[in-house]
């Protein structure tokens, strides 16, 4: 990220429109902004915080609009506050803006009421295409994480706090975030959650032993079915064989002199019986068809009767058909004459009396509907009667045929008896054999029917099991897929955990070394820094051959401030080097960050000021330094002036000193 120009309008003490163009020169990369205490250095640093995070780190944080602009406005007027920043970031040129409108509520209202606010982000990419992100606030948050803003937009008089014991969390957060450890940590945590809560639960939901059980059950049923089908075939074969033998017996009886006529009669009767049974089957089919088509008439009759009674009741009362039609009443009212000849003037009593008839009158539609219903009800009653007649007719015909079959059976018994009474032994034997074979065929047919029923039942069971198997297979496939995903999430997590373990020590050592180097460049005495296992940033001094912790000593503010600066500088340096190395590393992509330093020489003695002012230009590609005049002395001025590409002065207008102004404000002047 490299700043181009900052434009401020009516933000805190910056009255109307002001701007700062930042130095982008490689050699003179420092922009110095001079300002006395209270002139607006902190407010200027806060323009960045307001723009990126919609927050300010100032007293009276709700007081954003410029007092002078508010004072000049009339009640009801709106004062617009704007901060715009143009910058380059990751090969894109950005235009960003945050604005807010405050409405003046009363003559003495200098804060105004916030009535509208917003942000806007636009960038031009490497291909020259201009893009406007849909969510500007999210875009603004992404550039520099808010929780690390104290590193990149820092206040020098507070910066020493970084190296205090209670701030080691900030050190750890900064290292983890900027050096890629946080991404690894979060990825590991989220992968574990997804693995266990999503795919783990899915595995449990779909995984079961049902499929194995169904397949075993299907095998059993199929075996049983095959057995029954074999049995059916055997029976059919027996029937064929028995019928053949029966036919031989009958043929023999037809050939014998004493039985020929009786057997012939029996053949005819059996043929007739078969014909009658066919006819009975047809009658049964007819009855079934009739019941299926018109059977509802039997069950709907109570409702039909009730409706007919209700209509009859209305008819008796004279409600249908109506004696007077609504149209007739309307016609008389329109004509203005009653059927009795009386004039019907509107608003007269006779007119009202005739009009009241409309309430009793019926419409043609209603009468027609009632007539239609009555006619349909009569039709239903008639159809019901026809239905009973038809069924009764069929039943009668069936009864006749059954009677004839009974008669045939009696006659067949008689024939059998007559043949059995014949003297000849072989005739008796033939008849006995015929009876046995007939009985066997009957038994075989009954067996066949029973086996067929069993086959139907087994086939139904097989069909159900097959459907269950298909369902269980789908579930098993889902379970397998969930397991693959579970294991994939687990492997990804384990690989990231291994990466994290090896990388975190490497990162700490890398940062520790760079902090030591920068600190050593600034403080040449026998001091050094250390980033501990617990991420504390400590300063040590060698006293009598042993290390002594000095950052805990209250008087060591200067050393702590330098250590903090060295830490920020180290992170800025390492992330910039990573970004420029073009290493393909998703978790540590690095980045180029500018540094905005408000009063970086706050507590420093002359010796440290020299070191810091020498180091500042090297800490980041672009540095913005806000200084008071007392800080811009000798050593600092000498070193920073050489690298200062641009310098500005904050010209503070104090109403105590300038009679013509009523409210304080600051103007940004370029050094001529």
């Amino acid at each position: 990220m490299e700043f181009d120009i900052l434009k401020i309008k009516n933000f805190r003490q910056y009255y109307s429109g002001q701007s700062v163009e930042f130095s982008q020169d490689d050699e003179e990369n420092v922009t110095v902004i001079h300002g006395a205490n209270g002139a607006g250095k902190s407010a200027l640093r806060n323009t960045f915080l307001w723009l990126f995070y919609n927050e300010v780190d100032l007293p009276q944080p709700k007081h954003i609009a410029n007092e002078r602009a508010m004072a000049q406005a009339d009640v009801g007027d709106r004062i617009r506050v704007e901060v715009e920043l143009e910058f380059d970031h990751e090969e894109r040129h950005y235009w960003t803006e945050r604005w807010a409108e405050y409405e003046k509520q009363a003559n003495d209202d200098l804060d105004g009421e916030l009535v509208d606010e917003g942000a806007h982000v636009q960038y031009r990419d490497v291909d020259g295409k201009t893009v406007t992100p849909e969510n500007p606030n999210t875009s603004l948050e992404r550039f520099i994480p808010e929780r690390l803003s104290h590193l990149f937009f820092f206040h020098g008089e507070e910066i020493d706090q970084l190296s205090r014991e209670d701030n080691k969390n900030k050190i750890r957060d900064a290292i983890r975030n900027l050096m890629g450890l946080e991404i690894l940590e979060r990825s590991i945590r989220h992968l574990e959650w997804v693995q266990k809560n999503e795919f783990g639960e899915e595995m449990e939901e779909y995984g079961s032993e049902e499929l194995t059980e169904y397949i075993a059950s299907l095998d059993g049923k199929q075996e049983k079915l095959a057995e029954r089908e074999d049995r059916k075939e055997d029976i059919q074969q027996s029937v064929v064989e028995t019928k053949s033998e029966l036919e031989s017996v009958k043929q023999r009886l037809r050939e014998l002199e004493g039985t020929r006529e009786l057997q012939q009669e029996r053949d005819d009767l059996e043929e007739r019986e078969e014909q009658l049974r066919d006819e009975i089957d047809e009658i049964n089919d007819s009855i079934r068809e009739t019941c299926s088509e018109d059977g509802y008439l039997v069950f709907s009759m109570p409702a039909v009767q009730k409706t007919a009674e209700a209509l009859e009741e209305k008819r008796k009362k004279g409600e249908i058909p109506s004696e007077i039609k609504e149209r007739f009443v309307d016609d008389r009212l329109e004509m203005g004459v009653c059927i009795c000849g009386r004039d019907l003037d509107v608003s007269t009593e006779p007119y009202q009396n005739v009009k009241n008839w409309k309430k009793k009158a019926g419409t043609n539609d209603l009468d027609q509907a009632a007539t239609n219903i009555t006619s349909r009800l009569r039709g239903i009653a008639g159809s019901r009667s026809e239905l009973f007649d038809e069924i009764e007719g069929d039943l009668g015909e069936r009864r006749e045929r059954l009677d004839e079959i009974n008669e045939i059976a009696e006659r067949l018994d008689e024939i059998s008896e007559q043949i059995s009474e014949k003297e000849k032994e072989d005739v008796k034997e033939l008849e006995r054999r015929r009876g046995t074979l007939e009985e066997r065929i009957t038994n075989l047919n009954q067996d066949k029917k029973r086996v067929e029923n069993e086959i139907d039942r087994i086939e139904d069971q097989i069909s159900e099991i097959e459907s269950n198997i298909e369902e269980a297979r789908e579930e098993e496939e889902k379970s397998k897929k969930a397991r693959r995903r579970y294991l994939a999430a687990q492997r990804a997590r384990e690989e990231l955990e291994a990466k994290f373990e090896s990388y975190q020590d490497q990162v700490r050592e890398q940062v520790d070394k760079k902090v030591k180097d920068i600190f050593g460049e600034i403080i040449s005495k026998n001091y050094w820094t250390e980033i501990g296992e617990d991420y504390s940033l400590d300063v040590f001094k060698e006293v009598g051959g042993r290390s002594e912790l000095v950052s805990a000593v209250p008087t060591s503010t200067g050393e702590r401030q330098v250590a903090s600066l060295a830490f920020i500088g180290a992170l800025t340096y390492l992330t910039r080097e990573q970004y420029r190395s073009n290493q393909d590393n998703v978790y540590f992509q690095g980045g180029v960050y500018p540094m905005v330093m408000d009063a970086p020489f706050g507590y420093l003695g002359t010796e440290y000021q020299r070191g810091v002012s020498q180091q500042i230009p090297t800490l980041a590609d672009q540095v913005v330094v806000l200084v008071t005049e007392p800080q811009w002395e000798a050593e600092v001025k000498e070193h920073l002036e050489r690298t200062a590409g641009k310098q500005y002065y904050l010209e503070y207008h104090d109403p105590d000193e300038e009679e013509e102004i009523e409210y304080e404000y600051t103007e940004i002047r370029v050094e001529e």
């Binding site: 995070y53 999210t138 948050e141 992404r142 550039f143 520099i144 994480p145 808010e146 975030n177 946080e182 991404i183 690894l184 979060r186 990825s187 989220h190 992968l191 959650w193 997804v194 999503e198 795919f199 397998k480 897929k481 397991r483 693959r484 995903r485 294991l487 994939a488 999430a489 492997r491 990804a492 690989e495 990231l496 998703v586 978790y587 992509q589």
Partner: protein, 50 residues
């Protein structure tokens, strides 16, 4: 150890999953309220492991 073809996911696929997870985390790293990251990770694993 013998691999189970029903549950095994190849190394290349795991590397893609890791890269996509890290990229999703990177996109949300600096947000004040990063939402929906678990859902994104679940979705990308479903896409990668069919």
């Amino acid at each position: 150890m013998k691999k189970n073809p029903d549950t095994e996911v190849d190394d290349e696929r795991i590397a893609t999953i890791i890269e996509r997870v890290l990229q999703a985390e990177q996109d949300k790293l600096h947000l004040k309220n990063p939402r929906g990251i678990r859902g994104e990770i679940e979705k990308l694993i479903r896409e990668e492991v069919e």
